[in-house]
């Protein structure tokens, strides 16, 4: 089969790899009908996530048709249309039972690697480094899906791929960011980053009752999307000082909650941006926390900062004194996709949201390399690339 393989930094290619097989009775094989490039795939593309090996199959946002099931997978039949959540979760450990599927204790065969840098291991993730399991990903024609009896969600025929695909990651991720803010009536929520996850965080904040949502980015097309799709107000961080603008827009209080949907590769103008870029380049910090620092500084006293952008390791100049002295709450996590898929599918079916709005480009799988470049450099106002195997 054809699959998008990570080859080296800034190098991906479509290669022929062996078709996957059922390995355990709880596996299923899915023939992929739609898959997407995630913003977090760009961290792999930029070589910022360790333990990638040449030939690793990429991709953790995918859906398709079940073509084979293990004998213990009773809930799926060959021919079912399913969306697959990006964290691999057993459904039976203490974390899974608590609904924290991205913390599954049993799905990372390389847990020891993650323990070395993070203390404990989170769940395995499709196509996302050996540190997180070394599972082949879903930017391919077929994928082996472990724990298929608890992961994949069946999609009714009335819901097209475009609307369902993003239940695999970015819609639940953005939604969780908004949910972590515990939004109350009247709240103003600020969202850093208007990429695909940011768009869903913005939309979700309005769905969860935020009075106003303020979106921060530098690309006019992305800011426009936030305004048009979710009714957000917007700030271009290259045009104005974000801190002053937020203060001004909130009567001097600051936003009640802030969502960092940017993560470890934030861009910042001027000296601060250069400082973090240099430190990251020489390995003195793994992550550039510019958006996070700004969110913490801007948040209302006693407010919440939700972090759903991906961070890998260490950050510098983290303003912890702000967190402590102003009683901020910081919440974070990889999305616990399993618990969000069903309720979010309900919202899609009820017409509250059509997640397809983020798609700007469609390419055949064979042109994945062009998709990565286009997405990385935001060419042609690229927000989201969907690949068709």
């Amino acid at each position: 089969m054809k699959a998008v393989c990570w080859l080296d930094k800034h190098q991906v290619g479509v290669q022929d790899v062996a078709d996957p097989e059922i390995l355990t009775p709880r596996d299923a094989i899915v023939r992929i009908t739609a898959t997407a490039i995630c913003g977090s795939d760009l961290h792999l593309y930029n070589g910022l996530v360790p333990t990638m090996k040449a030939g690793d199959v990429l991709g953790h946002e995918f859906m398709g048709e079940v073509v084979e099931v293990g004998r213990e997978v009773k809930n799926l039949r060959v021919g079912d249309r399913v969306v697959v959540p990006f964290p691999i979760a057993c459904g039976r450990c203490a974390q899974c039972e608590r609904g924290l599927s991205s913390l599954c204790e049993n799905s990372n065969p390389n847990a020891w690697m993650a323990e070395k840098i993070w203390g404990y291991s989170p769940a395995g993730i499709f196509g996302y480094s050996h540190l997180l399991g070394g599972y082949p990903g879903g930017q391919s024609q077929y994928a082996r899906v472990p724990f298929a009896d608890v992961g994949p969600l069946k999609i009714p025929s009335g819901v097209p791929d475009d609307a369902a695909l993003f239940l695999s990651d970015i819609f639940p991720t953005g939604f969780m960011g908004a949910e972590l803010c515990e939004i109350e009536p009247g709240d103003v929520v600020a969202v850093w980053g208007c990429g695909p996850v940011g768009q869903f965080a913005i939309k979700s904040a309005t769905l969860l009752g935020a009075e106003r949502v303020i979106a921060i980015d530098r690309f006019p097309a992305r800011l426009r999307m936030a305004r048009e799709q979710s009714g957000a107000e917007t700030i271009d961080y290259e045009a104005v000082d974000v801190h002053d603008a937020l203060k001004e827009m909130t009567g001097g209080r600051g936003p009640d909650a802030c969502i960092d949907a940017v993560g470890m590769e934030a861009h910042a103008p001027g000296v601060v941006g250069a400082y973090d870029r240099v430190k990251q380049a020489v390995g003195l910090e793994t992550d550039r926390p510019y958006a996070l620092r700004q969110a913490i500084m801007a948040c209302r006293s006693g407010g919440t900062v939700a972090v759903i952008g991906v961070y890998a390791g260490f950050v510098d100049k983290f303003p912890f004194g702000v967190v402590m002295n102003r009683s901020l709450t910081i919440r974070s996590g990889q999305a616990h996709v399993h618990r969000y898929m069903r309720p979010l599918l309900d919202r899609i079916e009820q017409g509250q949201i059509d997640p397809g709005f983020v798609i700007t480009h469609r390419l055949p799988l064979a042109e994945a390399a062009r998709g990565y470049e286009m997405f990385l450099h935001k060419q042609d106002d690229c927000v989201k690339v969907v690949l068709t195997p």
């Binding site: 996530v49 360790p50 049993n106 020891w112 840098i117 599972y135 082949p136 020489v282």
Partner: protein, 310 residues
């Protein structure tokens, strides 16, 4: 089960002794004149030189003790140094301007610290600091599994289950109620076999075993089962020890076993948890036969700690 307290107390003494060495060393090195006066030794040129050298040695030993992991060796080195110091103090007694009272006090101090050093070094060896005694390979790991203790006890007591999650074991056979025969892969694929006897068996609580006399490998182990708080199942703690008879095949095997015994035991326990909680052991590949159980054969890349460089 070893308690953590004793080991820690020994460690505390060691740290204090290390710092004492650093302080005394710096005093001798930087303030030899004042040190000489305190010790009642006349501050002539040879005495000052000797004090500087002693200071340097003390500093080195102190830092060596603090840095570990071979603290015991440095402690014994300092005991030897103390004997030299006592000799030097004895010589100083005969020189002009010596103050016998102060010299005697200094000698008592040196002897006292040496006694403490020797005691701490022996305590380290007793606390199972593998580097101190150089022979026994020990490992202890614990994991929480979401199953009742009785069920896990029964699973492990059926020794034939052990190779399902312990990668190094090829087979374990029950030869009777308490006797078992173990076959394990050593380094280079060599198979080593031994017989063991269950020496303690408390249903739902503890299984302890020991290799029978005459085995090529002196091996002992224990599994403790304890209820985890908050309905989270059972905390399992495993202790393993291998003591190879010197200079035999057993030594080679134990070295192989000992390369990363703690890590290997951790992986074995993780597989046990996967097996009983999910019904299978997690595999990442997509093809049958291409994924042996994940096993840390080498440390993770340094890039992990220093940013995304490969």
């Amino acid at each position: 089960m070893p308690t953590h307290g004793t080991g820690r107390r020994a460690q505390g003494t060691v740290v204090a002794l290390g710092w004492l060495g650093v302080v005394l060393g710096l005093a001798g090195l930087l303030l030899p004149r004042r040190t000489a006066r305190m010790a009642g030794v006349p501050a002539g040129r040879p005495a000052l030189t000797a004090l500087r050298l002693v200071g340097l040695r003390e500093l080195a030993c102190g830092l060596g003790i603090l840095a570990r992991p071979r603290a015991a060796g440095w402690l014994w080195a300092r005991v030897a140094g103390a004997l030299v110091d006592l000799g030097l103090l004895g010589t100083a007694l005969t020189s002009r301007g010596a103050r016998p009272g102060r010299i005697a006090a200094a000698a008592a101090g040196v002897a006292g610290v040496a006694a403490l050093d020797a005691r701490a070094a022996r305590a380290l060896a007793r606390a199972g600091d593998g580097t101190a005694n150089g022979h026994a390979v020990t490992a202890r790991k614990t994991i929480t599994i979401g199953r009742p203790a009785d069920e896990l006890y029964r699973f492990c007591r059926d020794v034939g289950n052990l190779p399902r999650f312990m990668v190094r074991l090829q087979s374990v056979e029950a030869l009777g109620d308490r006797r078992t025969r173990w076959r394990a892969r050593g380094p280079g694929g060599a198979i080593v076999q031994w017989e063991a006897e269950i020496v303690e068996d408390r249903p739902g609580r503890l299984i302890a075993w020991r290799a029978l006399p005459g085995s090529r490998l002196d091996h002992a182990g224990a599994v403790h089962f304890e209820r985890a708080p908050g309905g989270r199942g059972t905390e399992i703690a495993v202790e393993l020890a291998y003591t190879p008879p010197a200079g035999t095949l057993g030594a080679v095997i134990a070295r192989g076993l000992g390369r990363a015994p703690e890590q290997e035991l951790q992986e074995d326990l993780r597989r046990l948890k996967q097996l009983v909680e999910t019904g299978d052991i997690a595999v990442a590949g997509s093809l049958r036969g291409e994924t042996p159980p994940a096993e840390p054969r080498r440390p993770p890349p340094r890039a992990v700690a220093t940013g995304g460089r490969r």
